[in-house]
Amino acid sequence: MSKETSVPRTHRIGQIGAMLSLISLLAYLSLSAGVANHVRFLYASLVKVATKLGIGL
C-alpha cells in the first residue's frame, strides 16, 4: 500500500496522536450529553412504535 504524502512519518507524533484520540473518544462517549440525549430519544421513539404495535417494552 503506497500513500502519496509529504507529511513525514513521525512515529512519536503518530503514536501519541493515536493514543490521545483513543482516550479522547472514550472520554467523549462517557461525557457527551448529546449522545445520552439521543439514546433517550431513540428509546422513547421505540417505545412509541412498540405501543402503537401493541408490544410492551
Binding site: M1, P8, H11, I13, G17, A18, L31, S32, A33, N37
Partner: protein, 659 residues
C-alpha cells in the same frame, strides 16, 4: 416559464464561469469555477436589485435575470476573442481527474477508512431523500431568511423588507447581508417548495472536496484527507444544518474556497488572490459574521506573502505583502461592497444594524429602531452550564432542557476524538524544524476564529464552525503522521467516531420522517407547519399580521406562497401594544391593542396569534375569530396555547354581524 428562465440563468453563468476558470489542476479549476460562478450569479442580481433601489421599478425578476446572464455569457466570449486566445478547459478532463482521485483513495485507504467514506456517502443520500418529503425548515429560515427571499423577488428589488412603505425595515434581521435569502428566493421561484428546502445541500457538496483539497495542500495522504472530509459530515451542526435553510454552510463554503485558493501553492498569483477575495466577500454576503473570517484570511494572506519572500530583502517582502493585500482586498470589496453601500443608502449606516456608539454617532450613522446589543450574553447558557465549561464543550455537548443534536448544537465525536488532539499535537510540531509549511497558518487561523468568538457577545457553537476549515486538515495531517499500528488505531478511532455520528444523523432523520409522514401524516403544508388550514384558503391578496413568534413568519405565506405577510418583528414592534407582554406561545392569556392606522397602512386583512388573546384596536376596526386550533389534530390532546386566526373587520360590518 420560470423554470426556463432559471435554467437559462444557471446555464449561462455556469458556462461563463467555466470559460473564465484557468488552471492545470482539476481541484483548482473546480474551486475557481465555483467562485466565478457565484460571483457572476450574485453580481448580476446585485446589479438588477440595486438598480431597482436606485432608480425604482421591479428589475429583479427571472426574465431580466436570464437575459442579463446571457448578455454576460456573450460578453465573456467576445472579451476572450479579442484578448489572448484562451482554450476553455474540457469538462471531460476534470471528470477523469476526479475519477482517478477517487480510485486512488479506494486503492490506498485501509478497510475502516474505505468503509466510513462509503457509509458517509450512503447516509448523505439517505437523509437527503428523507428530507425531500419536508417543507423548508429552520428557526432563522422561517423567521427571516426565506421571507426576505420571497419579498426580494416579489418587489423585484434588494431593498430591506418592510411591510409598510413608510418604514425602512420590518426589523433588523431583514437588513443583514442576504445572499442566503437571494438564493432561497431564487429557488422558490421555479422549484417545488419541498425541493427548495434542500437549498443548503449544494454548499455541503462544495465543502466536502474543499476540506479534502485543504488537507492535501497541507500534505496529508489521500485516505487521511478523505477521512477529514467525511468527518465534516459527521458534525451534527453541519449535517443537520445542511437539511435546513440557514446560512451557516453557505458562508462556510466560501470561506473554505478562499482558504483553499490561498494555500494552493508557494507563490501567490494575482488570480489566486483575487478569487480568494471574491470568495471571502461572498461569504460576508451569506453571513456577516464572516467579517471575522475576512480579517483572519487577510492576516494569512499577508503571512503567506511575507513568508514566500522573506529570503529576499525586507523591501521585496513588504512589496509582496502590499501587492497581496491590495489584490485580496479588491476581491473582497467587489463582492461584499453591495450590502455595505445598500445599508448606507437605505439605513444611513453602512454596517446597519451594528452601531458602535459615540463613534458612529459622530459620523452620523443611524441606530436600528429595534436592535439591542445588551442582554445577549446570557444566551450561551443554552449550550453550557457556565462560561468556564466552554473548553469542555466538544466532549460534553450539553444543551439546555435535554435537547438533542441539531443544527445549532453538537460538534460530534470526531471533533473530540481526533480534531482536538490534532490541534494540540500540531502546536507541539511547530517547535520542530521539519514542520510542514501550512501547519502554522492553519493552526493560527483556527485559534483566531476561537479568540474572535470569545470576545464577541453572542456565543453560539455554530459561530465557531469556521474552525473546522482550519482544523480538519490538521486532523488529516495527524492521521498521515501515523504508521503501522498507530495508523490502524487512529483509522479505527476516526471510523468509529464518524460512524457513530452518521448513525445519530440517520436515525434522527428516520424517526422524524416516521413521526411526521408515516405516523402523523403531515404531508399537507398546514399539517407540517401546524397552523389552522384556513391560512391556506384566505382570499387572494390577504395580508396576514403575525403576532406569534418569529419562526412562524414563513409558514403564514400559506400554500403556493399566496398570502402577504407582516412579519412578527414589525407587527409586535409597530402595530401591537401588549399590555401583558408577549407570551411566546406559552399559553398565557393576554390583552393586546392594535394600532388601527398601522393596520390600514399595511392593508392588513387577517391576524395570526398563538395564545388566548383578547384583541382590540384603537380605531374603528374589529377582529372576528375565523379559526381556532386548540387541540392536537392527531391525538386530540389540548395544546398549551390555541392557534387563532382573526379576520379584521370594519366597525360597520362588525355592527351588522351582531345578532
Amino acid at each position: 416559464m420560470n423554470v426556463v428562465y432559471a435554467l437559462v440563468t444557471l446555464l449561462a453563468v455556469t458556462i461563463a464561469a467555466w470559460r473564465l476558470a484557468r488552471s492545470e489542476r482539476a481541484g483548482e479549476l473546480l474551486a475557481q469555477w465555483c467562485v466565478l460562478g457565484a460571483t457572476l450569479f450574485f453580481g448580476i442580481i446585485y446589479l438588477l436589485g440595486g438598480s431597482a433601489i436606485l432608480f425604482g421599478g421591479h428589475w429583479l425578476k427571472l426574465p431580466n435575470l436570464a437575459a442579463t446572464s446571457v448578455i454576460v455569457l456573450a460578453a465573456t466570449f467576445v472579451w476572450q476573442r479579442f484578448t489572448a486566445p484562451v482554450h476553455a478547459p474540457r469538462p471531460g478532463r476534470v471528470f477523469t481527474a476526479i475519477a482517478d482521485e477517487l480510485r486512488a483513495i479506494r486503492h490506498e485507504a485501509s478497510v475502516p477508512a474505505s468503509l466510513i467514506v462509503s457509509l458517509a456517502a450512503a447516509t448523505l443520500l439517505f437523509v437527503s431523500a428523507l428530507s425531500l418529503f419536508d417543507y423548508p425548515r429552520g428557526f432563522e429560515a422561517g423567521a427571516y431568511h426565506i421571507p426576505l427571499g420571497v419579498e426580494f423577488f416579489r418587489a423585484g428589488s434588494l431593498q430591506s423588507f418592510a411591510a409598510s412603505g413608510d418604514v425602512a425595515d420590518a426589523g433588523f434581521t431583514f437588513t443583514y447581508p442576504a445572499n442566503t435569502s437571494i438564493w432561497y428566493g431564487f429557488l422558490l421561484q421555479w422549484l417545488p417548495e419541498k425541493l427548495a428546502g434542500l437549498g443548503q445541500l449544494p454548499f455541503l457538496l462544495i465543502l466536502l472536496p474543499t476540506i479534502y483539497g485543504l488537507s492535501r495542500n497541507l500534505g496529508a495522504d489521500r485516505p487521511a484527507a478523505a477521512i477529514a472530509a467525511t468527518a465534516l459530515l459527521s458534525v451534527p451542526m453541519i449535517a443537520f444544518g445542511s437539511l435546513e435553510l440557514g446560512s451557516d454552510l453557505s458562508g462556510l463554503a466560501f470561506v473554505g474556497l478562499a482558504l483553499y485558493l490561498l494555500t494552493l501553492r508557494q507563490v501567490l498569483t494575482a488570480r489566486q488572490l483575487l478569487l480568494a477575495g471574491f470568495a471571502a466577500g461572498l461569504a460576508f454576503g451569506f453571513k456577516s459574521l464572516h467579517i471575522n473570517s475576512i480579517a483572519i484570511l487577510g492576516v494569512l494572506t499577508l503571512w503567506l506573502a511575507w513568508r514566500n519572500h522573506h529570503a529576499g530583502s525586507t523591501a521585496s517582502a513588504m512589496a509582496a505583502m502590499s501587492r497581496a493585500a491590495v489584490i485580496f482586498s479588491a476581491g473582497v470589496v467587489l463582492t461584499a461592497a453591495f450590502w455595505v453601500i445598500r445599508n448606507w443608502l437605505q439605513h444611513d449606516n453602512p454596517l446597519y444594524p451594528v452601531h458602535l456608539g459615540a463613534l458612529f454617532d459622530t459620523l452620523g450613522f443611524a441606530r436600528a429602531w429595534d436592535y439591542n446589543f445588551g442582554g445577549v450574553a446570557y444566551s450561551e447558557l443554552e449550550w453550557v452550564k457556565s462560561t468556564w465549561r466552554w473548553p469542555f464543550y466538544p466532549w460534553e455537548e450539553w444543551h439546555f432542557i435535554d435537547q438533542n443534536f441539531k443544527a445549532t448544537a453538537g460538534t460530534g465525536a470526531y471533533v473530540a476524538a481526533v480534531l482536538m488532539p490534532a490541534m494540540l499535537l500540531s502546536l507541539v510540531r511547530l517547535f520542530s524544524r521539519q514542520r510542514e509549511p501550512l501547519l502554522a497558518p492553519l493552526l493560527v487561523g483556527a485559534v483566531l476564529v476561537i479568540l474572535l468568538w470569545v470576545v464577541q457577545d453572542v456565543r453560539q457553537p455554530r459561530y465557531t464552525l469556521a474552525v473546522l476549515l482550519f482544523a480538519l486538515p490538521l486532523s488529516a495531517w495527524l492521521i498521515s503522521s501515523a504508521t503501522g499500528m498507530a495508523r490502524r488505531v487512529i483509522d479505527i478511532v476516526s471510523a468509529t467516531a464518524i460512524g457513530l455520528m452518521l448513525f445519530v444523523v440517520a436515525s434522527k432523520q428516520m424517526v422524524e420522517f416516521g413521526d411526521r409522514h408515516v405516523y402523523s401524516g403531515q404531508s399537507a403544508r398546514h399539517a407540517f407547519y401546524d397552523y389552522p388550514a384556513v391560512i391556506d384558503k384566505l382570499p387572494d391578496g390577504a395580508v396576514v399580521i403575525n403576532l406569534a413568534s418569529r419562526p412562524w413568519n414563513y409558514s403564514l405565506y400559506g400554500v403556493a406562497l399566496r398570502n402577504h405577510l407582516v412579519p412578527s418583528q414589525e407587527s409586535r414592534g409597530r402595530i401591537a401594544h401588549a399590555s401583558t407582554g408577549y407570551p411566546d406561545d406559552l399559553g398565557t392569556r393576554f390583552d393586546m391593542v392594535l394600532d388601527a392606522k398601522e393596520l390600514s397602512k399595511r392593508r392588513a386583512t387577517h391576524v395570526f396569534i398563538i395564545g388566548e388573546a383578547s384583541l382590540r384596536s384603537d380605531g374603528c376596526v374589529g377582529f372576528r375569530e375565523i379559526a381556532r386550533m386548540d387541540r392536537n389534530p392527531l391525538n386530540n390532546q389540548q395544546l398549551k396555547a390555541p392557534r387563532l386566526v382573526f379576520e379584521i373587520v370594519a366597525c360597520e360590518q362588525q355592527a351588522a354581524d351582531r345578532p
